[in-house]
């Protein structure tokens, strides 16, 4: 599904990712954890195609294609989805018009007929239930005036609507109270299939109690320095990140 090899990326001359490699197979859930400033969000940004980040070395293959050559919209149409850490408010653009356009472009790209208005609304009704998003929110402007929890639920709702092959969740749990967290996690779990893969980026182990990962990776100074099963997350929760930092510094010394 996704193969990241030795990626180096910088923003404004500052190198953030320094040789990151990761393999994700269909249906797998990978958690990326790490202290602040380790490069977690940069990884998400590079995968989604944000232009401010420059990839200086390495390759990213997604379903056999070179991701770095694809515009952000092509990545989306090919089935990549990024749930933003800070979803953008877009006054004046209704959630519905936006989603209709997005679904339309993705279907067109994949050689599918456009959805009828009726089928589209049916899909909206079905998917908004997943994250307990009421119809009112669906009709409002994109994220405008939404609470933090509503914004994150809206991200998962969009994910459900666009049915990606690979979903990247960038600190979707940050700023959520426990109820909102449960709703978001339930939404994600409902979308898990044997084909769909997830990269869950998080600072805290808490989210991983709800979205149980197959693999946990620790990102530090722009590289994955430790990988393991879900028990690694528990260990990090218990001991913090310092022991990892020490391990890395000792190895480098």
């Amino acid at each position: 599904m996704l193969s990241i090899k030795n990626i180096h990326a910088k923003i404004e001359e500052k190198e953030i990712l320094r040789g990151l490699s990761l393999d994700v197979k269909p249906g797998e859930v990978h958690a990326i954890m790490g202290p602040n400033g380790s490069g977690k969000s940069t990884l998400a940004a590079v995968l989604a195609g944000r232009e401010d980040y420059e990839v200086t070395e390495g390759t990213i293959q997604y379903i056999g294609k070179d991701v770095l050559d694809m515009a952000p919209e092509i990545r989306a149409r090919e089935g990549m989805f990024l749930a933003f850490q800070y979803p953008v408010e877009i006054p004046g653009v209704s959630n519905m018009n936006f989603l209709k356009a997005a679904v339309g472009e993705i279907r067109k790209h994949n050689g599918l007929e456009p959805l009828s208005a009726k089928d589209f609304l049916k899909l909206v009704a079905e998917k908004s239930k997943l994250v307990e998003l009421d119809g009112q929110l669906a009709n409002r402007a994109v994220n405008e005036g939404f609470s933090g929890g509503e914004k994150k639920r809206n991200e998962i709702f969009q994910m459900a609507m666009l049915a990606p092959k690979l979903a990247i969740l960038d600190e979707t749990d940050s700023g959520l109270d426990i109820d909102a967290l449960r709703i978001v996690a339930n939404g994600v779990n409902a979308l898990r299939t044997p084909e769909r893969s997830f990269i869950v980026i998080t600072h805290y182990q808490r989210l991983l109690e709800y979205i149980v990962p197959d693999f946990v990776h620790v990102l530090y100074k722009g590289r994955i320095v430790k990988s393991g099963g879900k028990e690694l997350a528990l260990e990090l929760e218990e001991k913090g990140y310092d022991w990892i930092k020490e391990e890395v510094e000792t190895a480098n010394a």
């Binding site: 515009a71 919209e73 989805f81 990024l82 933003f84 004046g92 790209h109």
Partner: protein, 424 residues
């Protein structure tokens, strides 16, 4: 004092249409003579003239315009607004064409030619005498008066359609509208050019909104890059009156709107909304004046521009609150998006407040498209063009929502979509 001699420039401008005077509107000779002598004392504004600082008129003053009365049959159906179901008043090259118009004897409405102007006095009251105004009096192509009698809610909209058809045509229609006490009218005015022939439309509108009367005016400007369009609108509103104007500049090479609103009583509401979307080398200039003269009136002004390529926008909004105009609420906002590094927006809000118990605000912003929003939309699969159009659509949506007539709104949206300026 000696009168200034006619500059060679002006001479060239004038000689070309002296010979066509027989075709002109039959205006009181004294008024025409007065206007002609005023021309001698005036000249075309330059960019040193404050009111014309960003709007060059050289391409107008250097041209030899002609008065061209086109009597041929023209199919106007492509220029009508679907589902508007309006009476239509047609001007071609500034000449009223009764044969093309369709007026259904609306109850309480009269349409007639006039040979004098109440607006001339208005023009003279303005301290800056304006050569374009004087020209349109001296060489008026058609003058028309539309009166709505007292206590009449006009059942259909009236659509005034201005078409230019001929190369170098100078169209100088003057229209006076009077909506008498407690009456209501929806007026639509559209400006169209055929075959991209270079023309200059210098159209003057004088409106009197009577006591407790209401006038809604939707103005749709969509000429081609070759056309020059000057609108001088003088609006006088009596007590308890309501006036709303939506100026929708969809297209046109050079557009100058001079909108002057005088609130001549209490409890008046005046709403001025506009969108303008110049591109290529187009210029759109909106000059507005709102004069609060009496207490307890509201004015709301919302102007939004989206400028692309090497286009230029000008906004100059003046609001005067006179000493007697206590309890005035006056709001003004001009927001612009520049889509290109070469586009230019010159905006200048001016508030002059001489009363002490008022609420007034003005704000102006000019910025680029929100790159974060753009990326967000693209990350969901929208292409760059569609994402940009969706954002521009969102930006002007609140102005479009002020257009209450669905037929007009659909028409304007359709024209914007056709020009790929709006998201479909």
């Amino acid at each position: 004092m000696e009168t200034a001699t006619t500059s060679p420039l002006k001479e060239k401008f004038l000689t070309s249409f002296e010979s066509h005077e027989s075709a002109l509107a039959q205006i009181n000779p004294e008024i025409v003579a007065g206007a002609k002598s005023a021309i001698d004392e005036l000249d075309f504004p330059t960019t040193r003239t404050e009111e014309w600082r960003y709007t060059r008129t050289a391409r107008i003053s250097n041209e030899q315009w002609k008065i061209i009365e086109n009597k041929s049959s023209i199919d106007i159906t492509p220029f009508l607004i679907p589902n508007l179901n309006a009476d239509v008043v047609v001007f071609v090259n500034g000449f009223h064409r009764e044969d093309l118009s369709a007026i259904s004897n609306l109850f309480g409405v009269s349409v007639a030619k006039m040979n004098s102007f109440s607006s001339v006095e208005g023009a003279q009251r303005a301290d800056e005498a304006n050569i374009f105004q004087v020209l349109s009096v001296a060489y008026c192509t058609s003058s028309l008066q539309i009166d709505v009698a007292k206590n009449t809610v006009v059942e259909k909209p009236i659509h005034i359609l201005h078409i230019t058809t001929d190369e170098k045509a100078l169209a100088q229609a003057r229209i006076e509208i009077s909506v008498a006490q407690s009456s209501q009218l929806h007026l639509v005015e559209s400006f169209i050019s055929i075959d991209e022939k270079k023309s200059f439309t210098n159209r003057t509108l004088s409106v009197s909104v009577g006591e407790n009367a209401q006038l809604y005016l939707d103005k749709i400007q969509m000429e081609s890059d070759e056309n020059f369009l000057l609108n001088e609108d003088n609006i006088y509103i009596a007590g308890n009156g309501l006036f709303t104007i939506n100026t929708l500049t969809v297209d046109g090479g050079w557009v100058r709107n001079s909108l002057n609103i005088s609130l001549d009583g209490q409890n008046i509401e005046a709403n001025l909304n506009a969108i303008f979307l110049p591109r290529r080398k187009q210029l759109v200039d909106n000059h507005t004046k709102v004069n609060h003269r009496f207490p307890n009136c509201n004015s709301n002004e919302l102007y939004k521009g989206i400028l692309n390529d090497q286009s230029t926008g000008v906004f100059n909004g003046k609001v005067y609150v006179q000493p007697d105009a206590q309890k005035t609420n006056a709001y003004q906002s001009n927001a612009n998006i520049l889509l290109s590094d070469d586009a230019q927006m010159n905006t200048k809000p001016e508030l002059e407040i001489y009363a002490d118990d008022v609420k007034c605000s003005h704000g102006t912003t000019t910025g680029q498209m929100d790159e974060n929003a753009l990326f967000y939309l693209k990350s969901r699969g929208l292409g760059d063009d569609n994402a940009r159009r969706l954002l521009t659509t969102a930006f002007i949506n609140d102005v479009l929502d002020k257009v209450k007539n669905e037929a007009v709104k659909d028409y304007v949206i359709g024209e914007l979509v056709n020009r790929e300026l709006l998201f479909n």
